[in-house]
Symmetry: D2
C-alpha cells in the first residue's frame, strides 16, 4: 500500500485488507439485526478481555457520534464539559456534543501541546461554582489521547486531571480517535491507558486506524450507560446490520491488528519528523505518534503543493512568512512516501 | 445465497456480493475525506441521471438518520409532521425525528393497509389550524413507499396526498426504506415515483436492499438542503471515509443492481404469499413487495418457531387465537427457503 | 366585579383585588433577587403546611411553563408521557413539553369526559414495551384535575390511574390549572387531591383562579426536583424580582382566598349550567366546576354573538347544525352576568 | 423610597409606584387572553412611535427569556453567536440561549470594559470560516448596551461592530437589560441607539428599570419575527393575562417614566463613583450608568459587610489583597443611601 503524496489526514487512507476480509467473513447467513448478532456479542467479550474490565460497548459509525453519545450520557442539558481548546469536540464537530446533550456547554481550556493545564481545569471549576443557578453545572471532563497535536499525555498527567475531575464529581471521557496510536507509542495496556487512569467512558476510534467506518463507545461504569442505547437509536446510530460494524472492530482488535497498524503509522510519523528535523525544519511539537507539525515558510509550502503534496495548515496561513503545517501518516504510508516528501522538502528549502 | 428459516426482516440478510466487491474497488489510493472524494461526486451524478433531476445527495448510515435528517430540513421545532400511524418514523425510531427537528410533533393518521387516508390528512390540517399560536404548525407530510404493510400507493394516491399537502404549504418527504422494491413492483421510473408525484425529499434506503449500511437523503429542491450538511455533521452522520458509503450506493444503482435484487426479493415475497394462500391462510394485505402478513393461529406460529423459523408478530400476540405475523424475504432468499416455510406451514396447519 | 358578556375563558378576567393589594405590600424595601427573598421562603412554608408534606416549590409565570418544567424533570428526551388526548399539554402548548424535555413524546389516550380510561393507559404501556430500543420509553403520566371538560376525577379514579403508572415505574404529574376549582367542588384537602392520591408533581395554577401571572411547580418528592432550578433558569422562568410572583401565590393560598374565589366561580358555572338545562339545552358534560359545555345550534350561537357574548366552540363549528360550545365563569363573574346570558339564550332559542 | 444599604443589584429593588398603579388601572373588565388585548396593541403602537420604526413586539417576563427568544430567531442550532466574554448570555443564563436555539454556540470575545474589540470579532469570524461543514456557522452578534461593566459603547463603536457583522451576514441583537440607563446617560433617542446603529433585534429590559417583571423583544425587521410567537409559546412565555405585562411596559415608556427613573439611578451611580474617587478608591471602569466597580481591599469589603452593606465581588475574591466589587444603584436609591455608603467607606478605609 501507499499513501503517495497525501499527508492530509489518516482518514484519507482506505481500509486495511484485514478489515475488508472480515466483512466478507461476516457476510453470508442471516443474523439478528440491531446488534443482537453473535459478532457484536463476541466484540464486547473480546474488548472486555482486552480492557480487563466489564464493559458496555456501543459500536458506532463515526467518531463525532461516538464522542457526542458518550458526552450525552455524562452531562445534562445544563452541564458544562471541560476540554482542551483545540479538542475535536470543541473545534470540529459543528455542535454534535451540544446537539446530543441538548445544549450543554463546552469550555475550552488552554494548555501546551494540546494537553490541558491542570491549573486551568481547577480555575474553570472554581469559576463555574457548583450549585449556582445562573451557571452551567460542572459535569464532565473530556481528554483527547493522543492529542490533537499528535502528542501524548503521560499516565501521571492524565491521572492528575482525572483526580481533579473526580473530586469535583465530574465524569471523565476520553476521545480516543487515535487511541491505538497512543497505546503503540507508550506501550501501555488498554486498561492502563483508560480506566486505570481514571477514564469513565472511552470513544475508541478505529477508522483512522484502518477500518472503513467503525468506532465504539466503551463504558467502564455500566450505570452510566443506562440511557445509551436509546440515545444511540434516536441519533440514528444503531446499524440495522450491525454485524458489519462489529466485524470491523473485531478484526482490528482480535489479533493485535490495531496496534500493528498504529505502530506502523507512528513509525512513519517519526521518520517524517526526523527527516524534517535533519533539514533544520522546526517541529512545533514532539512527534509522539503519526502526526508531524512543521514550521514552514509559506513559499516552501506552496512549492510542496505544486509538486502534488497534500497537507493542511494548522494555524492561519499567512500570505508571507511561516506557518505551522500538519502532516499525517497512516497504516498505509510507505517509507518511500515519507522519503519522497522529505527529499522534496529538501529541494523546496534549498 | 440463502436466508434459511429466517423471515424476521430483510435487514437480517447480509450484503450483496456486488456491494462487497465495490468496497474492495473503492479501497486503495487515498481520497479526500468527508465526501470530497470522486466516488461521492460520481454517485450524485449517477443519481441525478437516474432521477432525471438536479439533486442534492447526502449519503447516510441508517434509514432512521436519513428520515430524521430529511424531516429536520422541512419542519421547525414547532412544526407538525403528518404520517401514517404505522409509519416507521412514528413507531420505531425512538424519537429520532423529534430529536433531529428539535421537538416537532408527528401526527399519526389512519388509513387502510398503511396508506394514509386523504380525508384524514385534510381533517388533521383543519384541526391544527395554521397560524394558531397554541398549536404545532403544519410543516410536512411523510409518506412511506412501499408502506409498512408491504403495500404500494398508486401514483394517483400519492398525488392526491401530495396535492393536499402542497396546497397547505407542507413539504413532502418519502420514506423509501423499500423504494427499490416499490420501483421493481410497479415498473415506475425513479422520477415517476418521486418528484413527479410531488415528493420533495426522499430517504432512499439501500441497506435492506442489499448494502451493508448505506442510505441517501435526496433533495429534489436544493433550497431545502441548505442546512442539511451542517445538520448531518452535528448528527455524526458524515462519514470520514465517505467513499465507502458512496461506493455501496453506487454499486447498487450503477447497473440496475438495486432493481434486480428488489425484484428477486419481491418474487420471493409473492411466492410466499401465494403458497400461504393456497393453504387457505388469510393474507392481511396484498403482497405487493417482499413482505407477507399472514393471519395465523398462535399454536401454528409456535409450531413454526419450534422448527426454527424466525418471524415477528405484527399485532399483539395473544395467548390463544389468531394473530397477524410478518414474513419478510430479501435479495438473498432462495425459492427453497420459501418452499421450506410453506411446507412446514402446511404441516403445522394440518 | 363583573365579567359582563365575556364567557370566553377564566383568564380573560383580571386579578382579584387581594392579589393587587399583596403586590403593593410586597413592594418597598429591597429583597434578594431570584427567589432568595423572605416572601418566597414563606410561600414554600405555607404550601408545605397546606399540603401536609415537605415540598420543593418553584414559582412560575405560566401554566404552560409549569407543566413543561415539571415534565422535563420526569421524562428523558426519549421518554413517553401519557395524557388524555384533550389535555392542554397535548393540544394547546405548541410543543412546550417537547421543547423542555428535549423531544419526549406525548401519547394521547382516550376516555369519556376528558378522563383517561385506565384500560387505555394499560394498553398504551403494553404497546410501548419497556426496554425496546426502538420505542420511546414509558416515563410519566400526566393527569388534569379538574379536566379540560370541566369534570372531576374521583379520588378512586385518580388512584386507579396512578397505581397503574407507579407499577410501571412512571412518575405522575398533575396539571392543576384549575386545581382550586377541583378542591372547592370536591371538598378534598390539597393533600388528598395530590400526593395522597399518587401525584408526584403538581402544576398549581393560580392565574385563572385570580392571580395576574402566578403558578407553581410543586414536587412532593424532592429527589425529582434536583434539576428543576437549572431547567427553570435556562427556560427564562426564574423571576429576578421573584417576590412579586410569590406574593401573588401567597395572597391566594394564605387565608383560603383561592378556595373562596374558586367556589364562587364554580357556583357561577353551576348557575349557568342549571339555567341552560332549564331551557332544555343539552349539557355535554356535568358542570363540576366553572365550565359549562352547551350543545347549541349554530344559529343560536350566532344570535348570542350578535348580542356581544363571547365564548368558544369546543368542537369544529359547522355551517349548519349543532356544535358544542364552552362557557367559562370566573371569580369575577356576577350572578347577573350569568342570568343575562341565560335570558339571552332563552330569547335566542325562541 | 430607599434602597438602604443594599447595593447588590438593581433587581433587588421593588417596583416603581407608577407601575403598580398601572396594574390597578389595567384590572377591571375582561380582556382577550394571550396578547389580543387593547393594552398590548397600544404598547406596540407606543413603542413604534418611540422607536420611529415599524416593530414586532413580544412582551416577556424575564431578560433571560427575552435574550434567548431573540437569539433563537437569529441563529440556527448549528449557528455561532458572538458576544463579549462577560456578557450575561455568556456567563449567567445557565444555557438559556443554547436551550432556545437548540444548541447554538456562544463565542465569547475579549474587549476592554466589556466592550467587544472589533478586531476580535473579525478574527473570530475568520477562524470559523463560513461554509466549513465542521464548524458552527456565523449567525449573530449580540451586544450589551449598557455593558456588564456599566460602561457605554459610543454610537460609532456600535456601528463599527454592526458593520462588520452585517458584512458577514450576521444579524445583530442588543441585550438592553439597562437600555434606558444607556439612553438617559447618552441622550440618544431610542432609534439612534438601536436600529439606526445597526441593531436588528432588541431585548428591552424594564424590570431593573422599575417594573415588576416586564421585558420586551423588539424586532425592527418583521421578517425575523415570523417564528417568534410560536417559539415564545413553546417556551411558556406567552402570558395568558398579557395585559398585566403590557401595562407595566406601557407605564414605563408612556410618559418618559423609564428615562426619568434611569436618569435618577444613573445620578446615584455617579454620586457613588465620585464619592469613592474622592476617597482615593480606584474605579475599575468609568461610571457611565448606575454601576460602580470599586477596587477595594478585602478587609475594607469585610468591614462594609459587617455594617450591613450588600454588594457583590466582580472578580474572584481573595483571602487577602484587593478585589473588584460591584455596587449598583436603582430608581429607588436615595442620595442618603449613597452618602451612607460613602461615609462608611471613608471610615472603613481609615
Amino acid at each position: 500500500m501507499s499513501t503517495g503524496k497525501d499527508f492530509s489526514s489518516d482518514n484519507a487512507s482506505g481500509a486495511a485488507p484485514e478489515v475488508l476480509a472480515a466483512l466478507g467473513r461476516a457476510n453470508g447467513a442471516t443474523a439478528a439485526a440491531y446488534g443482537d448478532d453473535p459478532c457484536t456479542a463476541q466484540l464486547t467479550e473480546r474488548l472486555s478481555d482486552l480492557f480487563e474490565h466489564e464493559l458496555a460497548v456501543f459500536p458506532m459509525f463515526t467518531g463525532t457520534a461516538a464522542n457526542a453519545l458518550a458526552l450525552s450520557c455524562l452531562a445534562p442539558p445544563f452541564g458544562a464539559i471541560f476540554c482542551h481548546e483545540s479538542a475535536h469536540i470543541y473545534t470540529s464537530e459543528c455542535g454534535a456534543p451540544e446537539f446530543y446533550t441538548g445544549g450543554a456547554k463546552l469550555i475550552g481550556l488552554p494548555g501546551a501541546a494540546a494537553r490541558i493545564d491542570p491549573a486551568a481545569l481547577s480555575a474553570g471549576l472554581a469559576e463555574l461554582g457548583k450549585g449556582v443557578t445562573h451557571h452551567f453545572q460542572p459535569a464532565a471532563l473530556s481528554l483527547t489521547q493522543a492529542t490533537e497535536c499528535g502528542t501524548l499525555y503521560s499516565i501521571e498527567a492524565i491521572r492528575r486531571l482525572t483526580d481533579i475531575a473526580h473530586r469535583a464529581d465530574l465524569k471523565v471521557h476520553m476521545d480516543g480517535a487515535r487511541f491505538a496510536n497512543a497505546l503503540a507509542a507508550s506501550g501501555q495496556t488498554p486498561a492502563e491507558a483508560s480506566w486505570k487512569a481514571g477514564v469513565d467512558v472511552l470513544s475508541l476510534g478505529l477508522t483512522k486506524n484502518g477500518a472503513l467506518a467503525a468506532e465504539a463507545v466503551i463504558f467502564f461504569d455500566p450505570t452510566l450507560a443506562e440511557d445509551a442505547r436509546f440515545r444511540q437509536k434516536r441519533a440514528g446510530q444503531v446499524a440495522s446490520k450491525m454485524r458489519f460494524v462489529s466485524a470491523q472492530l473485531l478484526a482490528m482488535v482480535q489479533d493485535g491488528q490495531w496496534l500493528e497498524l498504529a505502530a506502523h503509522a507512528n513509525q512513519m510519523g517519526r521518520r517524517l519528523g526526523e527527516g524534517a528535523a535533519k533539514l533544520g525544519i522546526a517541529l512545533a511539537f514532539p512527534v509522539d505518534i503519526n502526526e508531524a507539525f512543521l514550521e514552514l515558510d509559506r513559499t516552501v509550502a506552496d512549492r510542496l503543493r505544486a509538486q502534488g503534496f497534500l497537507f493542511h495548515p494548522w494555524t492561519a496561513e499567512p500570505k508571507e512568512g511561516s506557518c505551522r503545517y500538519r502532516f499525517v501518516t497512516s497504516f498505509a504510508t510507505e517509507p518511500d512516501d515519507v522519503d519522497g516528501l522529505v527529499s522534496t522538502l529538501a529541494r523546496a528549502l534549498g
